[in-house]
Structures are given as structure tokens and as C-alpha cells.
């Protein structure tokens, strides 16, 4: 059994205590998507602003545990300013780190080149399989929003 220090890294607790990019965006022009984690009752709303193929802003509202909140917070930092294909690559890479194979297209060789930065701190979640759903909630919700923006 891995220790809790693998899960609750300092940077995670920091994003949990001070989440970045919380709030809402006007829809339209932004796209809104809602996600639920049926296990723990977490609910998250992702607001996504895409302009000319680039994610120009993301905001997060809703409630959740330290893992889902910090993951959402770090996600916003990782994707704002990126092109949609770049964002999709980051999502794939992150899910790959969470040991999740995605049905919608294999991880391309490029993905491995994508850097996750702070998000690497969530690596430890893999050792706590139940929490993987917490870590990926914001990401799946982002994907929904991306699909709607297409």
C-alpha cells in the first residue's frame, strides 16, 4: 500500500486550497459542460472558450475532493492558450498517465512529447485506483465541451 504522501503532494494541496481559474464564462460564446462522479457525488462544470481553433479561456465551477479540484485547476493552466489538437493531445497524455486507454484514437507518437508540467504531481493517483475517476472528471468534462465546440 503506497503512502498518502504519494497522493497528497504539496502542489496538489496548493491547487486544492487555491484553485486557479474558478468561475464561469458567459454562454455563448463559451461552451459549458457538466460532469458527475457517481462514486463520490462530485459535480463539475467546465466553461470553455475556443477562438479560431485555440482555447482562449477555461473556467471551472462545482465542488469536489482535493484530487478532482486540483486536477481541474492544473488542467486549466495546462490548456489555456493551446490549439484544440494540442489540448486533445494533453488530455490523451494525461489519461495515459492515469492508465486509461482512450477509444477515440490511439495516442500518437507526438503525445509523448507533450509536457504535463505540474500535472505530473498527479502521477501518484494511479496507485489509488478509486481516485482515478476524481482526477479525470474535469478532463472528461473538458472533452465533452470540446466535442460540442467542434
Amino acid at each position: 500500500m503506497p503512502g498518502l504522501e504519494d497522493l497528497y503532494r504539496e502542489i496538489i494541496l496548493d491547487h486544492y486550497r487555491s484553485p486557479r481559474n474558478r468561475g464561469e464564462l458567459p454562454t455563448p460564446p463559451a461552451i459549458m459542460a457538466e460532469g458527475h462522479n457517481p462514486l463520490c457525488g462530485d459535480e463539475i462544470t467546465v466553461y470553455l472558450q475556443v477562438d479560431e481553433g485555440r482555447v482562449t479561456d477555461v473556467k471551472i465551477s462545482g465542488q469536489g475532493c482535493s484530487i478532482s479540484q486540483s486536477s481541474a485547476s492544473m488542467m486549466t493552466q495546462a490548456v489555456i492558450g493551446k490549439t484544440v489538437p494540442e489540448v486533445r493531445a494533453i488530455v490523451r497524455r494525461f489519461k495515459g498517465m492515469m492508465s486509461i486507454e482512450d477509444g477515440d484514437g490511439d495516442a500518437s507518437a507526438d503525445d509523448t512529447a507533450v509536457s504535463l508540467g505540474d500535472l505530473e504531481a498527479l502521477q501518484g493517483v494511479v496507485k489509488f485506483p478509486v481516485r482515478i475517476k476524481c482526477a479525470t472528471l474535469a478532463w472528461n468534462t473538458l472533452l465533452q465541451a470540446l466535442d460540442e465546440s467542434a
Binding site: M1, G3, L7, C40, G41, D42
Partner: protein, 413 residues
Amino acid sequence: MSGHTLDRATIAADFPFLTRRIDGERVVYLDSANSSQKPRQVIDAMSSFAATSYAPINRSAYRMAAEATEAYEGARAKVARFINAPSADEVVFTKNATESLNLVAGSWGRANLRAGDVVVLTHMEHHANIVPWHQLAAERGIELRWIPLTPTGELDLTDLPRLLDGAKALSFTAMSNVLGTITPVAHLCRAAHDAGALAVVDACQYVPHNVTDVQAWDADLVAFSSHKMLGPTGIGVLWGRAELLDAMPPFLGGGNMISDVRLDGFTCAPVPAKFEAGTPPIIEAIGLGAAIDYLESFGMAEVRRHEAELTRYALDTLTERFGDDLTIHGPRNVEIRGGVLSFAFRDLHPHDVSQVLDERNVCVRAGHHCAKPLMRVLGVGATARASFYVYNDTADVDALADALDSATDIFGF
């Protein structure tokens, strides 16, 4: 059979899970409201039946099959006696309480409710007693009304007459799986009947922990699950008044529930067979019967006494040790509260609380407890919940409190 006192030292040998070690430490199982552990007596009854007495029931005539049928029907009789049902034929075996409640909505509901008809529920219902009615509402256009809660987590009955006015059914929990609140079942059944409505009781959390008397309640239909009362998964119960069950159309169709099948239609078998389509949970019924025998060896009054005492101890201990850092939902009065404690700890998310407790082998559930409408009423997304049963004692409550202390270290308050 009854008379033993509940005391972990005495019954420890009955529960193999108490020997389980994780990281060298014992498991503090505080999730019985979700599903209970199983005593040796239940496990052994199932194993030995499956090993040398197993046979299909109802359909074959040789002795092993006749004996298996008798054992299965014997379990039905035990259930009937356990809840003081007038007749074993009023006991229907389902797969779980959820199926039982779906049977009520799907059979009684479809046969009796039309667009605009009203069914009354409460804000503390489990999804199992909400979603089937939502499905019927979508199909039939029935209207759902909701009994709200008081600030202490009891049912607020101020408006009951108005809510029940013209209602066709009142379907409610006998005990909340989140708040622990024990509801005034007999009072509600009478109110329902006075209004001409059917009284359906979700007794999932009540039957495992209390003396149950469906006749004293004067209920019409009562649902509960085996796996929450020391019995196996895979079997639940729906009890109903004979005339009511007789009048209800069948639910699932197939073998065993028929009297005749022709190319152009079928006729039903009498109850309870009418509601038991297909091969039933035979081995599971044996296990449920053994669970009832085991519970009756203490008597349900003793089970209730034990849990009320433990709940009192837990309320006192947690309040004393954590003060305002810990918010416990639901009534403080253990007269109307079962052994279920939902709580919020500081500003920690319940999922993180349960993670930290798990590090100490303290097993609590964190989440919405299949009661999302109630979560919204409480203004929370989730709670952490500790719940007790026969095998828990004050040392488990202390372990819970100690483990909560350690959360402080990790999240650095």
C-alpha cells in the same frame, strides 16, 4: 432462541472479517449501512447447502429437489416470521430491495396510476425509491410530491394532509441511510390510508436493525435487502398484503410465474410464484434464512439496544473530541436514530476524509449515498458516513476518532 447479549468478545469468532489484516492491522468496518459483513453461520449454511444439498426448486420432483424446495420455502417462512407477516405466501424474493421497489412501481404503479395521479415521497429517499417513480412519471405523467425535512433531519409533517390530499401512494423510508432518522412508520401508514393512498415502506435500513412488525405498521408493501442484514448479496424481499399482491399484475415474466403459457398468451401462478420469474436465488435464500437465525439468536431488541448505545457513544465521543470541527447530520436523539452517522469534517471533502481514514483501515463511505436530492437539501455534495452493526463496538468509534485526528497532520490544519 434469543437472549445472548451483543458483545464483540463473544461474537468475534463468528465474523471471519475480524481476522482480516491490512498492513498488519485489523479492519474497522464502518460501512454496514452500505452492506454488512457475513457471519460464519451464513457462509457455512450456504457452502454446505451448495456442496451436497443443491438442487433446482419447484420444477423437479425427486427428493433432492423436494428437499431444496422445502429449504427455500423454509427461508421464506423465516422471513415472514421475522417481520411478523401473516403468511409466508406474502413474502416475495427479489434480487434486492431495488428490484422490490421497481416491482411496486412497475406492477402496482403501472396497473393503478394514470396521468396526473400523485405519489408522495420524501426528501430523504434513497434513489431506489425515487428513480422507479421518475421512470413511471416519464412514462405515465404521474406527479411526485415530496415531504420536506426539519432542520434536525426529521420528516416535516406539517403539510402532510395537503401533500397526501388526492394521493394514490405514499412511499417512504423507515430509516434514512444518510441521516439515521427513524421515521414514524405506523403514523405515516395511517395517514396514507386515511387519504386513501397505498403505504409503501422502504425498510432497507430498518429491518436489519430493529424489531419489525409489518402488521403493527399496517403497511401495504415493504421492501428490504438481505445483504444489509448479515445475509448474502443477490436476494431481496418484497412483502405485501395478500389481497394486494393477488390483485397486482405480474412484473418479470418467464418460468415459475406462470400457470399456463400458450402461443397467444399466458396465465399467472398464484403469489408468491407470480413475482418470482426464473430460477430464484436458491442458495441465497438459504443464506438469508441463516442470517435471520443468527440475528434472532440475540433478538432484534438486543440488536437495537446495542446499536443505540453505540450511536450514543459515537455522538458523544465525536462531539467531545472535535467540537465544531465536526458536523453530524440528523437527529441527536437516539430514540429516533439508527446507527448511521453522516458527518462533515472541517472543510475537508468527504472523499479525502475517507481516504485518510482508509490509511488507518477505518472503512467509511464517502459520497452521496444514493440520495442526491437529500444532499442538495443538506447543501452538500457528499458526506462521509460511518455506520454500525452487531460486530462494532466502542473501540471502533475510538479508532474512527483517532484516524480523524491524523487528517489534521496531512492537510495541515
